[in-house]
């Protein structure tokens, strides 16, 4: 039986990083995962939930569950924070004992962030990629602390041919994105982002890798603002840049 993955593309990745999504499809198919795309999906509702609008978040969750609840197999997303929303917050939006709560829990249990899906379900860390560059890794907060994935992305990166993984002193420090935080308190968000960019520059890496569209928007923007040649990349972009001979 092939492993089946329903793509949960997330609104931010769809709007800003379509290349990551195309790469994800190619990569999963290369690993013989059967890929499907529920086209009625929109946004998971995290921005509403994190802003305190739980009524709207619940409506968004209902819609998301209507789309994904009737699918089968795993649900896979390139963004840790969206998966954290589905996994940890959806069940709390519906009273225990209700059918909606049950559906939320069942669906959450088969929803995975991309790196966790690869390592835990497909059980692959070497995808046969080549990326002959110096790379450092930023751990997205919700992937790291929400979903508890500290090592997965780095395990995968270490198997990429030609890739030199250099440590980032601020690997586990938030980049300052924080969703609406970045526009409610822009000065503080900027200070955090600048600190992150400086520490990335100090590594001497050619690229910084992260697994969340939010962090990538922030860090990529910060690097551009600083006129830095360093590229901010999603792990999937590294894995699909070039095929490596095993």
């Amino acid at each position: 039986m092939p492993i089946k993955a329903q793509l949960f593309i997330t609104c931010l990745a769809e709007q800003f990083f379509p290349g990551v999504l195309k790469g994800m499809v190619e990569l999963l198919e290369r690993l013989r995962v059967q890929v499907a795309f529920p086209e009625e999906q929109t946004c998971c509702g995290q921005p509403f939930f994190n802003s305190g609008y739980q009524t709207q978040a619940r409506q968004m969750a209902r819609k998301w569950l209507e789309v994904f609840g009737r699918t089968d197999g795993f649900i896979v997303s390139p963004s840790g924070s969206c998966v954290d929303m589905v996994r940890h917050h959806y069940p709390h939006l519906f009273p225990p004992g209700t059918p909606e709560h049950r559906l939320a829990e069942e669906t959450a249990a088969r929803t995975f962030e991309f790196t966790q899906f690869l390592v835990q379900q497909v059980k692959v860390t070497d995808v046969g990629a080549r990326f002959p560059h110096k790379v450092t890794y930023h751990a997205s907060c919700h992937l790291l602390r929400g979903l508890g994935a500290r090592e997965e992305a780095k395990q995968i990166l270490r198997k990429v041919r030609g890739l030199e993984l250099v440590p980032l002193s601020t690997e586990e420090t938030c980049c300052g994105f924080g969703g609406t935080f970045s526009v409610i308190y822009p000065e503080v968000s900027q200070a955090m982002m600048v600190a992150k960019v400086k520490s990335i520059e100090a590594t001497g890496a050619d690229a910084v890798v992260a697994c969340d569209a939010g962090c990538l928007m922030n860090i990529a923007g910060g690097l551009r603002k600083a006129n830095s040649p360093i590229k901010a990349m999603h792990l999937i972009e590294v894995l699909t840049a070039e095929r490596g001979t095993p």
Binding site: V25, T173, P186, S189
Partner: protein, 476 residues
């Protein structure tokens, strides 16, 4: 709410952080975090996690049986010859202490470090009556000379350099001391010695209150706490009702995690236990011993299941030290004596969301605080509930956010959850951005997104995955 306060404007405060502040804050927090990490590593993570869970369980048990343990503590303190006062709010607590001071004709009080007295503004209340208040914790003494409150709940003057403190002593005390920690401490020590001997009232807080024996526990490093609680003829401790622990056995767990989390010490230099006034004439110590049990919104916090665990806090300050927001803005930006993540929880609940509704949003929800908290308070979960209280209101309070925001959320959620509207919006954005787009980036956007582009450009809207997917499926 109990204290009528102007709304705390975190953004404006953040804009006025002195440029050198973040670096000095980060230097100090890095030291505390480094010491803490070394001790946790020495224990081993497994044991540390066991201790955290035990500390969590002890605290949760204490606050869920608060009424019972408080009454037990009251009986024990009274039996030991102490006096117990119950203060519903800040004003009541201040009145109790003022009456005590008037009764004993006190002109000068010495204080050891206490966040509860900062919370209720006791110094101002005493000073308004012409009573001199001397802070005797070195850090508190320094910030008091500056006319400020504590910038950190554990280390009040942590943001100041030795040079700045030497200059301050020169200006305010007329003492020319070199910028060395030991020399500066000597200056304060000499000044404070006189104050201890001439004060009519000693005020302290309490890190814990042990229900079974009515014992007030203070955890300090400088010895000033002992002077405050033993030299003056009267001692009063102001202790939040949340500080209760059932018994001495429970206390040992909490002492183990407190000093490690706070300053990265196994145990502080002084752990003091006060169980009432001296029992025999031959014993030295204050003639009178008082305990003010402060509620000030705590029983209200206890009523909300989603935020109740706020009261587990043992004020170690680890969440401040690890918080990337705190590290970039320092303590004063929060506009409340307790700052950082735990300060946000207390301020927004004690002052109410009308006054402090902006604070729960002063977090990226990165969750570093959850992981470091020695009593496992789910800080970001509580923040999310408080954001919900601000936006929509709950059983405790009405919403504080403008109704226009709610309308915006309603309209936005319809657009975002209706597939055809979502897709239409996605195409419209790609079209509308064209005049602003340079090399796949948007450098300058109109409000409210200008708040994003003031710091960094936004990647251009580029949605084309759906068409790519369809074309691809067609080909197969």
């Amino acid at each position: 709410m109990s204290q009528a306060t102007l709304p705390i404007d975190f953004r404006t405060n953040a804009q006025h952080v002195p440029p050198k502040m973040p670096a000095s804050v980060q230097k100090a927090t890095a030291k505390f975090l480094g010491n803490r990490a070394a001790l946790v590593e020495a224990l081993g993570n497994e044991l540390w996690q066991t201790l955290r869970q035990a500390a969590h369980d002890v605290r949760l048990h204490a606050i869920t049986n608060l009424d019972q343990y408080l009454e037990q503590a009251e009986r024990a303190v009274t039996k030991a010859g102490g006096h117990v006062h119950w203060a519903r709010d800040a004003a009541e607590a201040n009145r109790i202490v003022l009456e005590m001071a008037r009764h004993h004709q006190v002109r000068k009080v010495v204080k050891s470090k206490s966040m509860a007295t900062e919370e209720i503004g006791l110094n101002h209340a005493l000073e308004a009556e012409g009573i001199q208040v001397i802070e005797t914790d070195l850090g508190e003494y320094i910030v008091q000379l500056l006319g400020m409150g504590p910038a950190h709940i554990v280390v009040p003057a942590f943001h100041l350099s030795k040079e700045e403190i030497a200059a301050l002593f020169r200006e305010k005390l007329g003492v020319d001391a070199p910028a060395e920690a030991e020399k500066l401490t000597q200056v304060a020590r000499m000044k404070l010695r006189q104050e201890f001997l001439t004060a009519g009232l000693g005020i302290s807080g309490g890190n814990f209150l042990i229900a079974e024996t009515g014992t007030i526990v203070t955890v300090t490093n400088e010895g000033n706490g002992r002077m405050c609680t033993t030299v003056p003829p009267v001692h009063v401790a102001i202790v939040g009702i949340d500080k209760i622990v059932p018994d001495w056995e429970s206390l040992t767990v909490l002492l183990k995690v407190l000093a490690r989390s706070a300053t990265g010490q196994k145990i502080t230099c002084y752990t003091q236990f006060i169980s009432g006034p001296p029992r025999a004439d031959a014993e030295t110590g204050p003639k009178e011993s008082h305990l003010v049990l402060l509620d000030n919104g705590r029983s209200r916090i206890l009523q909300t299941p989603e935020t109740r665990e706020t009261l587990l806090c043992i004020r170690c300050g680890a969440c401040l030290n690890i918080c990337p927001v705190f590290n970039n803005v320092g303590g004063y930006t929060y506009g409340y004596p307790i700052s950082g993540p735990t300060g946000v929880l207390f301020a927004s609940q004690i002052l109410g969301v009308k006054a402090a509704g902006g604070l729960p949003f002063a977090s990226t929800l990165c969750g570093a605080c959850n992981d470091i908290c020695p009593v496992k308070i789910p800080i970001t979960e509580i923040l999310l509930h408080l954001r919900h209280r601000v936006a929509e209101g709950d059983e405790q309070e009405k919403a504080a956010a403008p109704s226009l925001m709610r309308t915006g959320a309603q309209v936005g959620s319809v657009a975002l959850r209706t597939p055809w509207l979502y897709r239409l919006g996605s195409s419209l954005l790609k079209w509308a951005q064209a005049p602003l787009k340079r090399d796949d980036w948007l450098a300058k956007l109109p409000p409210p997104l200008s708040r994003w582009t003031m710091a960094r450009p936004l990647p251009a809207f580029a949605a084309d995955f759906r068409s790519w997917w369809r074309t691809r499926s067609h080909k197969r």
